[in-house]
Amino acid sequence: MAARPVITVFDAKTKGEVKETVPLPAVLTAPIRLDIVRFVHDNLAKNKRQPYAVSEWTGHQHSAESWGTGRAVARIPRISGSGTGRAAQGAFGNMCRSGRMFAPTKIWRRWHRKVNLKQKRHAVAAAVAASAVPALVMARGHQIDSVPEIPLVLDGIEKVERTKDLLKVLASYGAGDDLARAAKSVTLRAGRGKSRNRRFTVRRGPLLVYDDDKASVLKAFRNIPGVDAVSVHKLSILKLAPGGTLGRFIVWSAAAFKALDHIFGTYTQTGTEKGGYQLLRPVMAHADVTAIVKSEAVQNVLRPIKETPEAHDRKANPYKNKKAMDRLNPFHKLKKRIEMIKAKRSV
């Protein structure tokens, strides 16, 4: 890319006021690799799981023994003892009433997944790049019709202290629609999660990306439904592509946005913060196939269009189609006529 396109940084306090312009960080041009993002997301999403299992001894807290053969009963272990209905009932098996389940779940199941660092970084880069494409953000479901520019970079957003001030800032930069969408979406969760401390579900709204860990905005965003905040130094694919879907609506703080080149590096320099990380190069420099085909360089080398061969008529069956028969056997007509006359005469 010759000259890097430039992104406007707006002033958070004053609606629409342009603070400065920043050249596009290289991460935002990283190839958008849905396959990597999906893979990394699916695996990292497993890392917050808490183990579940049945109790170790469930179903086995009996001194049951099989009666063996010769007693006209199935060989399943049976409850020892007498004097109660429970005695002699089958025990231990998964098919038995009050028996242990088949393959009792164990806590040492492999709950978590390790993902290679490079893959994780590629995924984050791809997700960040995708967030800079308005079509993808819209297609993910965010309402960004009124947002002046994507990516949205606000200077001074980190200093916002009060929730209502943050709401004002976001609304003045077109994020209000997306916030409304999230707020409207708060519903009771379907299913048992309701009673397991996961009572409500909400849509994901804008993601605030900040630089300073002690920014006051970190308390301001907490009570706004759907809004998350993430440090630019700790970007997570789980927040950038929730559900594995690319294109989260991101509101960058100016400091965070400017730090991107330092963190991820560029195509001429490896990342500093992500030590030695090199952004993936796209497989095709110009991925617009239509444009390539239409380009002079290609058109000049193409052979001229072949003339479409003359389509010939569908074959007509001479036994059914008189014209076809006449064409092939002119005598047939005469022959038929003679027969017809003969038949008339003999009547």
């Binding site: 935002l28 494409v133 308005p134 079509a135 993910r140 994507i150 110009h286």
Partner: protein
């Protein structure tokens, strides 16, 4: 804001996007830039770098025809909006002219489809009443 080619965009969006509706084996799209509401690359305005949409923005608005042209990374400026309230008895002039502009600048097939869509929307209008779009 790097310009992502429409082929790449379609590749990303064809299996999964918020506008996609799958019913009875058919794929529809509620993409505002989609003229046929068909989930096909040809009509998927959202996946193209220049798209035309004919729709009304909100359900509660009167049926209003807007023409949108997608423009790169500035969603707000995306809408080259021709707000045309449907009047009884035919297209309002600006709508026709706006469509003419489309014909001149781009794909003729799309312009025909856009015109058809406008006609259909227009014909559903009940005069004097303000109705909300049911789509």
């Amino acid at each position: 804001m790097a310009e992502v080619s429409s082929d790449v965009l379609w590749g990303l969006l064809k299996n999964n996007n918020s506008f996609l509706i799958r019913k009875n084996g058919n794929d529809f799209s509620t993409d505002p830039y989609n003229l046929l509401n068909a989930h096909k690359q040809k009509f998927a305005g959202i996946a193209s770098n220049s798209g035309v949409g004919v729709s009304s923005r909100k359900k509660s608005d009167p049926v209003v025809l807007r023409l949108k042209k997608l423009r790169k990374n500035q969603p707000k400026k995306n809408h080259h909006e021709d707000t045309v309230v449907i009047k009884r008895g035919g297209f309002a002039g600006p709508a026709r002219n706006a469509l003419k502009a489309i014909v001149e600048s781009r794909n003729t097939t799309l312009a025909k489809v856009a015109l058809e869509r406008m006609k259909k929307l227009h014909s559903t209008e009940v005069p004097k009443k303000v109705i909300s779009r049911k789509h």
